[in-house]
Structures are given as structure tokens and as C-alpha cells.
């Protein structure tokens, strides 16, 4: 297996199986737990694609998430029961560009790992069990709809994007979920759940060769092309939909969120560099040690919930600033001032150097979390980002890079504000 030294000095082992599956193992000495996560490069964005050797099709939103639910179904019993018998736990989640199945266990890691690759490769879809799942997913969607963090972000995405699938909930809508059929699920499964479109990451005190051999010998035979699927994102205009929107929800005080739409143009190391540069830049604008945080907090315009973050994926990029606040309009004015000030100059090299220490510490410390580390390995693999270069790229970034990234990306013509206001409906 290939050995890759990752940030924090640990060694990641990597191999492609003959069927195209990427196997990545991170040995962690002295830990008792083994964590495995099998991911498919397939998420809520992928509802329009070409069937291998065939037509372009479009399926209802929410289908990747629906499939994720259904793979837990077995002809007899459920996947949960099997893992429970080994004292292991199992779960799954769907995001914009990825569906992941994971287990965590103290004992029986071999059984747990072998079964992970088995159940994900054995869909059991029937009219009856697909219908039954619709009620469960409906409750899941309604749970999120009552959640203010979730609600305000989805509002913002609707105001920034005209066509991009980020406008839609990962789970789809109650109506789209109701319309999903067994045939559509099977088609998506056959198209995307190809080993060459998947990656397995295992973290624990295990021998990498041993784990890799186990997967090689137990991975089910799959028919199918095994190549990357052609996906179609709708053409997204440069412009935003509308600069300002408000809605009501039963919450205690208003929430404010400002978003900037970026073009997702970066690939590989460029993407990594942009992620790091923007993280440093937004920390300078809105971190706990920033001038803005101090001033806005002192004047009561923000509270501890205030944050800024950059999200950069190969098919989507945006930045957000958000806080609970009694005066969203005033907060907006002040933020505009502060952002403009910093765009014009004033990125301080000494601050950037201090942030690098902080960033270094966070990166190394995060290795204590299996989940976080495995997610980062998976994402880097799918996004083709050189994870092993992380801390080197960090050292290369300069104050001038941060300055120009803020100038370029925080473009007011491509920004939008969403505000949630309280509605008092308690009776």
C-alpha cells in the first residue's frame, strides 16, 4: 500500500482495489475503537446524470438520501441488529456530494468491516418497504423545517442561487419524497454505487495490509461500468436572486445571515489554498480575537452565536456571516463597514502569523477525533485535495494572499441577507 504522511505526523495507507475502490487506512496505536466509513461520491446535487451508455435522466430531489435510508433494510431483520450483536454501532448520512455509511466498534472489527461492504452492496428495495419509509423521512424533513439554523441557511441559498441544487433540502421535499419510486431508486443505485465511485476509510489500531486484504477478499462482485458518472449541474448565473429576504419562525429573537456567492473554480491544491486563505481571512474579520467581534459584542449587536465561515467544494463555494441579534439592520450596516475597511487594506501580517499557530494546533488536535479525521480523508480523496500538503500550504499563505482573497471574494453585488424574525404563536 502507498504511505502518505499526513499533518500531525501520522501515516495514511492507501490502495486502489482492482475493482476501483479506494481503500485508505489510518492506524492509531493504543486506541480501542475501530471506525470505518464507506462513502459514495453521490449526494443531493446529483439528480441529473447520464445513465451509463444511455440517456440523460432527471430524478426527484431527495433520492440520494432516500437510498441511504433504504440500504439499512435487509430481507430479514435490519442492519442495526447485526451490528448490535457485535456490540457495534452503525449509521449513515447524506450531504451535497457524498453519501456515507459508517460503523464504530470495540470488538469484531473484521466482521463489522466485512459487513459494511456487504450491506452497502446489497440493496433490498420493495414497493412495500419504500412506501413505509416515506412516513419516516417526512418526519425527518419536518424536524429540520422547525430548526432555525437549518431554515435560515436554506433561505439564504434560495436567495443566492437561481438554479443550483443547493437551493433544495438534502432530503428533498415532502412532495418529491412521496413521488419517489422503486425503479428510480434502483436506477440511481446502479449508476452511482460503483466501486470506482466509492472510497473506504478505516481508522483504528489495526494493520493496514490486513484490513485491505479483508476488503479485497470480501468485496462483492459488481456488474456495471465502474467508471465515473457524467453529472449535469444546471447553469447558474453570476447574479443572485434577491439581496434581502425575511421570514418568520417561532423563535425568541431575530437571526441574521449574510452570504456571498463565489464561483467554484478551484481544483486540487488551489482549492486547499483558497480554503485556508479564506478561513484565515474570515477569522480576521469575525473571529473571537477580531476587532469586529469585540466591538459588535460590546454594543450588544451580536452574541456568542456570531460566526463566519467559508465553504469551498468543487461544485459550490460561498461565505456566510451569521448571528442572533435584536437589530439585524444595524448589525448589517456595521458589518458592511468593517468588511469594506478590511477589503481596502489592513490585513496585519502579525495577526496572520498568530492565526497560523492556531490553525496548526487545530489541525494536529483534530487527529484525536476519528470521525473528523476520517471525514477529512474522504473529502480530500473525493475532492482531489492534497491533504498531506495541508500544513505546508498553511505556511505558504501570506497576509497579501488573505488581503486579495477578501477583496475578490467578498463582492457585494453577489451577496444576500436573510433574516428570520420571531412570530409569537404560543397559545
Amino acid at each position: 500500500m502507498d504511505q502518505i504522511r499526513i499533518p500531525g505526523g501520522e501515516v495514511l495507507y492507501k490502495e486502489y482495489l482492482p475493482n476501483g475502490l479506494a481503500v485508505l487506512v489510518l492506524p492509531k496505536k493504543q486506541f480501542l475503537r475501530t471506525f470505518g466509513i464507506l462513502s459514495v461520491r453521490y449526494g443531493s446535487f446529483d439528480s441529473k446524470f447520464r445513465v451509463p451508455g444511455g440517456d440523460v435522466v432527471e430524478v426527484p430531489p431527495g433520492i440520494a438520501h432516500f437510498l441511504e435510508h433504504k440500504l439499512f433494510e435487509e430481507e430479514e431483520g435490519s442492519v442495526f441488529d447485526r451490528y448490535a450483536a457485535w456490540g457495534a454501532s452503525v449509521n449513515a448520512y447524506t450531504s451535497y456530494m457524498q453519501t456515507s455509511y459508517l460503523f464504530s466498534t470495540i470488538e469484531n472489527w473484521r466482521e463489522s468491516l466485512a459487513y459494511l461492504v456487504e450491506f452497502v452492496n446489497a440493496p433490498h428495495l420493495t414497493e412495500e418497504n419504500v412506501e413505509k419509509e416515506k412516513g419516516i423521512i417526512e418526519q425527518e424533513l419536518r424536524m429540520y423545517a422547525d430548526h432555525p439554523d437549518f431554515k435560515i441557511l436554506s433561505m439564504l441559498m434560495e436567495n443566492l442561487y437561481h438554479e443550483h441544487p443547493v437551493r433544495l433540502d438534502i432530503g428533498g421535499t415532502v412532495e418529491s419524497v412521496r413521488s419517489i419510486t422503486v425503479e428510480q431508486l434502483q436506477l440511481c443505485y446502479d449508476t452511482f454505487y460503483q466501486p470506482a465511485n466509492m472510497a473506504l476509510v478505516v481508522v483504528g489500531d489495526i494493520d493496514p495490509e490486513d484490513a485491505c486484504e479483508l476488503v479485497r477478499s470480501r468485496y462483492p462482485e459488481r456488474s456495471g461500468p465502474g467508471y465515473a458518472v457524467e453529472r449535469f449541474d444546471p447553469k447558474e448565473p453570476q447574479e443572485i436572486v434577491q439581496p434581502w429576504a425575511e421570514a418568520e419562525l417561532p423563535i425568541s429573537r431575530p437571526r441574521y445571515m449574510l452570504g456571498f456567492k463565489h464561483d467554484p473554480l478551484w481544483q486540487g491544491e488551489d482549492l486547499l489554498r483558497t480554503q485556508i486563505t479564506m478561513t484565515l481571512g474570515l477569522k480576521l474579520l469575525a473571529g473571537r480575537s477580531s476587532r469586529a467581534y469585540g466591538e459588535l459584542y460590546e454594543t450588544g449587536l451580536i452574541d456568542d452565536s456570531f460566526y463566519a465561515s467559508f465553504r469551498g467544494l468543487p461544485r459550490l463555494a460561498y461565505s456566510v456571516f451569521a448571528s442572533d441579534t435584536d437589530e439585524p439592520e444595524t448589525l448589517h450596516e456595521r458589518l458592511v463597514q468593517r468588511i469594506n475597511q478590511l477589503k481596502e487594506g489592513g490585513v496585519d501580517a502579525a495577526e496572520i502569523e498568530r492565526f497560523k499557530k492556531d490553525f496548526w494546533g487545530r489541525t494536529v488536535g483534530s487527529l484525536d477525533s476519528f470521525e473528523f479525521t476520517a471525514n477529512r480523508i474522504t473529502a480530500s480523496h473525493f475532492e482531489d485535495v492534497p491533504y498531506h500538503r495541508y500544513l505546508e500550504v498553511l505556511q505558504e499563505v501570506t497576509a497579501a494572499d488573505v488581503q486579495s482573497a477578501l477583496q475578490d471574494l467578498l463582492d457585494w453585488d453577489r451577496s444576500s441577507v436573510s433574516i428570520l424574525k420571531p412570530v409569537n404563536s404560543r397559545g
Binding site: 448490535a84 450483536a85 457485535w86 417526512e138 424536524m143 417561532p250 450588544g300 498568530r354
Partner: protein, 427 residues
């Protein structure tokens, strides 16, 4: 892997867990007091005030900069509720000093910073007045904001209604009216008493804990934490009570509260824990299998134990029209356990799941520390191995005997307002 215990003074204990497996050094200190309305609110203000500034770091910004200089060291404080005790928690984490340049110096600097922020708030003879006034406001907003997260709001409401005549009914952050009436001097004096003369337990996990212990012993010396504390009294349960609350929500949240009459020191405590696991602690549990998988009534449904007060709560996110059906299925699951309708698989799967999650604590610094909280409240720490052994020894009879103590006390439902087209109230 376990803690060695050292007495630093009367009522002041230091616990060290020496291990090289983590990238971080983690330290948590806990002070406990009896739960009473006024002191609960006062103690809840303290964490908010501490993060505003200390003698050597007068502003939030100064604190944040110092933590950044320490390579992303992390400080936080909070209050927790365990039974009828309120715990003031101080948390500090830094990268393992052995991985840092001039590690030994940074270890001392880190721990001194930790203790500076925890014990020397900014102000003279009381909290800095502007900070005090502002943070009172922040806490009131926090209390009013509880309603924003419907699921946790419903859980808090149910226990508050259920224990309205007992100290346990007090919310961990107190209540709005009490917070509003708090005086700076009063909170400061109480805080001084808390850190100087209430039981203090300090935990350290990482490598080089001996040096850390030396520094901490120096910082903490001269305290006497022998203040006497009380334990909850069991109460008589009358006829079950029902409460409903209306709000403009998409999903109803149902919470059912039971008295267990069994707490941590009781012989059959682990019988109860296993019983709760069979009922609703896992995806293979009766509630998940029946309410979600068979009846498709919910996405989230689970049960949990409060082991110091003696409560069991069941919660589910459901559609309001299906309340009766959900309650019926839930009660049927409780009854079936009380009647011993538990398969060998259910018992074994649950025990091995619990043992696995107990052993998993070894892999997380916070897990290693937090699991001892209930032990310090009851003055009886148990090692991971002891707990594993107790769980292994639980028989089906133990489970039935423990679960027969359950008495249904309160049902609470948060549901959509009737004018939004939902069914009429059921009481």
C-alpha cells in the same frame, strides 16, 4: 487506563490519567453545589462573565489572542445539572506540550492562563459592572432562546412540569425573573465561595500529567472545599398528568416522563440502565423498532435515564394527529419489558452495545472525564472496568425487577397551533 487520585486539600481532589495516545492535554475542573433557584441563576452567570475578561486578560479579545498564541488552546466554562446538584465546569485543552516548541514553558503558561481565566475575573472586588449588566442580558436571552430548539425545549418543559415542586424542576441556567434580580456583589461573593469552599474535582488527561499536576497544585493550594451537600429525596407519584403546549411548528414533540425510584448508588442501577437500553437507547431498541420501523410514526424516538434523580424520559418527534397511536405503542413497549417480554438477543445486544460505548470512553479525553460526573456527585467513582463488569452481570430478572419500578408521571406534547389545521387538543 484510569485515573490516579490525589488529595490537594480538604474536599479538593486531583485525578490524573497518564497516556500518550492523544495529541492533546485536557483538563476539566468541577465545582458542585445544591440546586436552588437563586444560586443556580448566579452560578449560570459565571461562565458568561469569565469569558469576558480576567485580571491579566481584560477583554474577550485578549483571552482569544492568548489562546491562539498557545497553538489553539481552548477554554470554556458552563454549568450542568446532575440530579439535584448544579456543577460549574471549567475546561481547558491544549496540544500535547511535547509536540510544541518549548513545550514545558507552554504547559506552565497554558495552565496559568486556564486558572487565571477561571479564578480571577476582570473587576475589583466584584465583576466589571458593564460586563455584569451585559451578561445578565445574555443569560436572559439564552433562557428565552431555549424555545428555538423544539426537541430540547420539550424535554426541559416536561421535567420542569413533572418536578415543579422539587429542586430538580429548576433549569440548569435558572429562570428569567431570578436572573433579572441578581446583583453584581451577590453573584461575585457566591462565585468566590464556590471556587474557594465547595467540593472541587480536577481531572487531567494526557502525557506529562505529573508536571501538569505540580503546576495545578501550586495554583489551587490553600482551598477548603468541605461544604456539605444534600441528595435528592424520592417523591410519591400521583395519577399521571398531561400537559400540552401549542406553537407554530411543523412537527409535534411528545415527551413522557417516568419516575424510576432507582439511582446510581442502588444495587439494581445497572438493571435499570440495561432496561432503558432495551427500551430506547439504541436503533435496535423496542421504541425504534416499533414506533419508527414498524409504524413509521417518527424519525427520532428514544429514551434516556437521569441516574441521580431517578427519572426516565421518552421523546419522539411525531405528527400531532398520531399522538394517541404513538402513546399507545410507547406504553406497550414499556409494559412488555415489565412483563419480561425480552428476547435473549435484545438483552445481549443491549449489554454489548452498552459495554462497547463504555469502553469507547477510553478513546476520548472528554469521555474519560465526563463519565465520572455522576460518580463525584455521589462520592463514589467507578472505573470503566467496574462498570463493564456490572453491566455484564445484569440478568433478565434484574431488568424486569428494575423496570417494574417505573411509574408514569407526566406526558407533555408540543404541537402545532390548532388554527394551522392540526387536530383538536386531545385533553
Amino acid at each position: 487506563m484510569d485515573f490516579t487520585q490525589h488529595e490537594l486539600g480538604p474536599g479538593v481532589r486531583l485525578y490524573l490519567c497518564e497516556t500518550g495516545k492523544f495529541k492533546t492535554l485536557t483538563c476539566k475542573a468541577f465545582v458542585q453545589q445544591d440546586l436552588k433557584p437563586r444560586t443556580a441563576a448566579a452560578a449560570a452567570l459565571v461562565p458568561l462573565l469569565l469569558r469576558r475578561g480576567a485580571q491579566r486578560f481584560p477583554t474577550t479579545r485578549d483571552i482569544a489572542r492568548e489562546l491562539e498564541e498557545l497553538y489553539a488552546a481552548d477554554f470554556s466554562a458552563d454549568v450542568l445539572k446532575i440530579g439535584e446538584r448544579q456543577i460549574l465546569e471549567f475546561y481547558f485543552q491544549m496540544i500535547d506540550p511535547a509536540l510544541l516548541p518549548e513545550g514545558e514553558k507552554l504547559l506552565r503558561r497554558g495552565l496559568e492562563t486556564f486558572w487565571e481565566i477561571s479564578s480571577r475575573p476582570y473587576g475589583s472586588g466584584r465583576f466589571h459592572e458593564p460586563y455584569f449588566e451585559q451578561e445578565k442580558h445574555t443569560l436572559i436571552q439564552e433562557l428565552e432562546g431555549l424555545v428555538n430548539e423544539k426537541h430540547s425545549y420539550a424535554l426541559v418543559r416536561c421535567t420542569a412540569l413533572m418536578c415543579s415542586e422539587e429542586p430538580f424542576g429548576i433549569y440548569k441556567y435558572g429562570d428569567v425573573d431570578t436572573v433579572r434580580s441578581l446583583e453584581n456583589q451577590e453573584v461575585y461573593d457566591h462565585y468566590q465561595q464556590l471556587v474557594n469552599s465547595y467540593p472541587l474535582d480536577v481531572f487531567v488527561v494526557g502525557s506529562g500529567t505529573e508536571q501538569a499536576a505540580e503546576v495545578l497544585a501550586e495554583l489551587i493550594k490553600g482551598r477548603d472545599g468541605r461544604n456539605a451537600l444534600h441528595s435528592p429525596q424520592q417523591v410519591e407519584v400521583g395519577a399521571p398528568r398531561c400537559f400540552e403546549e401549542f406553537m407554530d411548528v411543523q412537527q409535534a414533540v411528545l415527551v413522557m416522563g417516568y419516575r424510576t425510584q432507582i439511582t446510581y448508588p442502588d444495587a439494581n442501577y445497572y438493571g435499570l440502565l440495561v432496561g432503558n437500553g432495551i427500551l430506547g437507547g439504541f436503533p435496535h431498541s423496542k421504541l425504534f423498532m416499533n414506533v419508527r420501523e414498524r409504524a413509521s410514526l417518527a424519525y427520532s424516538v428514544s429514551s434516556s435515564i437521569e441516574g441521580s434523580k431517578g427519572l426516565l424520559t421518552i421523546s419522539a418527534g411525531i405528527s400531532a394527529e398520531q399522538q394517541e397511536q404513538a402513546v399507545e405503542i410507547i406504553q406497550e413497549q414499556v409494559r412488555s419489558i415489565q412483563e419480561g417480554m425480552i428476547s435473549r438477543e435484545e438483552l445481549e445486544q443491549t449489554k454489548s452495545g452498552m459495554i462497547s460505548s463504555m469502553n469507547s470512553m477510553n478513546d476520548s479525553p472528554a469521555g474519560l472525564i465526563n463519565r465520572n460526573l455522576i460518580g463525584i456527585v455521589h462520592n463514589q467513582l467507578r472505573t470503566i472496568d467496574e462498570v463493564v463488569e456490572s453491566i455484564s452481570a445484569v440478568s433478565l430478572d434484574d431488568v424486569v425487577r428494575a423496570m417494574q419500578h417505573l411509574q408514569h408521571d407526566t406526558t407533555y406534547i408540543l404541537r402545532p397551533s390548532p388554527q394551522k389545521g392540526a387536530a383538536n387538543g386531545s385533553n
